[in-house]
Symmetry: C2
Subunit: 245 residues, 2 copies
DNA sequence: CGTTTACTTGAATGCTCTCAACCAGCGTGG
DNA sequence: CCACGCTGGTTGAGAGCATTCAAGTAAACG
């Protein structure tokens, strides 16, 4: 099955999977579903009976704040298990919505339970992928707490580039990023206006271009330095960056 | 063994443990160690061969930024498995140090491996505890991105109160919090000066008192409202808050 | 095309930071 | 037993980053 391949590709980046494990993953996928841009795929406060694997498109996890603003706490790319944690965390403490049109595959929690009962290695890999999500959270925390606006933007672009490269969704130094500046601002914890000006500055420095949902990195080293980007937190065995850029 | 009891107490808060599982946990602890305040317990970039369980004292996970500042990304209280993630995440992407004198217990990664191989339920509980760490990260992200300085402080105090209540380290509306304002500022992503002024404001509003390493919550409802604190993200089955306050 | 959505830009306000002292508690040593 | 030095906490003031409000432009869509 082609859909599972994406997940297999991502998990294998950390540790090779056996034939049986690949088989199990394929069979765990119940069905796929299309979701329109801006629609919720997992509701805040719900208690899902399955976890969803993002097959195509971009998704975001978000939390609302009483004053009407929201904070995006994670951006997901194809191959990500967007709510694997809902398997054990009974109630969703945040919502997940489609930033662009998405295709997702559903994995019933019973299947995940079976995996944890009988396939320790696969279980550890799934666990690992939630740990990497947490590592990404930590980097975002550092960004919001201690990095300048432009460094934060640069860091996110570096991160997305590498994560997309893993699933071969980069094209040289370019990649699609079909999200609005407002969504970016909500991810980085800053205002839309300030984000817009900071992006302009980075563009003027010749670090990257960004138009019509596509980003082109013009000066990877410059961007990386500004962001103090070190991809080790993404736990990729191969230096994806070095091999693709 | 008394040390494992603390962990058992915490894990049982989510799902009851069998006798055998308790037994396994007890036997997994290799030895205990004392760590002086301000000393590292896990070094940034290291590849630990064991995970450490915090038995007493407060610890923090931190990352350094090039300009010399640091960001604390997690505060740990007794009963927390401070680096359970190091079991699967090969290299530490951050350091962990003792905010106060600490006692820790070491759990060799081989023991954890054995648990994942033979005890699925226990494995899921350990996995869950790392998921809750991630949920806490998300709340911190919301705080730094979208909450005011005082709401952020209030939220952290609410969170710590509840987490300490779980391990019965609260005394009525009081609890020990042996950390400096500088550490708090590094946790909340703000400057020491601003933190200090914001704390004063909250004190003046009669929400809490804080002196000589001890906090007393004077107005729980006021604090909770200001923080928009909702403890569901901590995944506690019992309403620890309601029963103890 | 008209309308909506996304992006830009200007200007004023203000939150938060840095720099700079100063104060208080505490442990140590003369 | 008190002075001294250290750490942690407090306060003042000016600078600057970031926000909000407000408009205006450009691109996308039916």
């Amino acid at each position: 099955m082609e859909i599972a391949d994406l997940l297999v590709k991502k998990l294998s980046h950390r540790s090779p999977l056996t034939i049986v494990e690949r088989e199990i993953l394929s069979r765990s996928i119940a069905r796929t579903r299309k979701i329109a841009a801006d629609d919720d795929m997992v509701a805040e406060g719900s208690k899902p009976a399955h976890s969803t694997l993002l097959v195509s498109g971009f998704a975001a996890r978000y939390l609302h704040v009483a004053d009407g603003s929201r904070q995006i706490v994670a951006i997901h790319v194809p191959g990500d298990f967007v709510d694997l944690h809902s398997f054990l965390l009974k109630r969703m403490d945040h919502g997940i919505y489609a930033m662009s049109p998405c295709t997702v595959a559903m994995v019933p929690h019973e299947r995940l339970l079976e995996i944890t009962e009988g396939f320790p290695h696969l279980t550890r890999l799934l666990w690992l992928s939630t740990l990497i999500d947490a590592a990404i959270h930590r980097q975002w925390l550092v960004g919001m707490g201690r990095r300048s606006a432009s460094a934060r933007i640069a860091h996110l672009l570096c991160e997305l580039y590498v994560r997309l490269a893993v699933v071969e969704l980069t094209d040289g130094s370019q990649f699609a990023l079909p999200i609005t500046q407002e969504e970016l601002a909500d991810s980085l914890g800053m205002s839309l206006v300030h984000l817009n000006r900071s992006i302009r500055e980075l563009k003027n420095q010749g670090l990257f271009e960004w138009q019509r949902g596509g980003v082109e990195i013009k000066d990877w080293d410059g961007l990386r330095q500004l962001a103090e980007f070190d991809p080790t937190y993404l736990n990729l065995e191969a230096d994806v960056v070095r091999t693709t850029l």
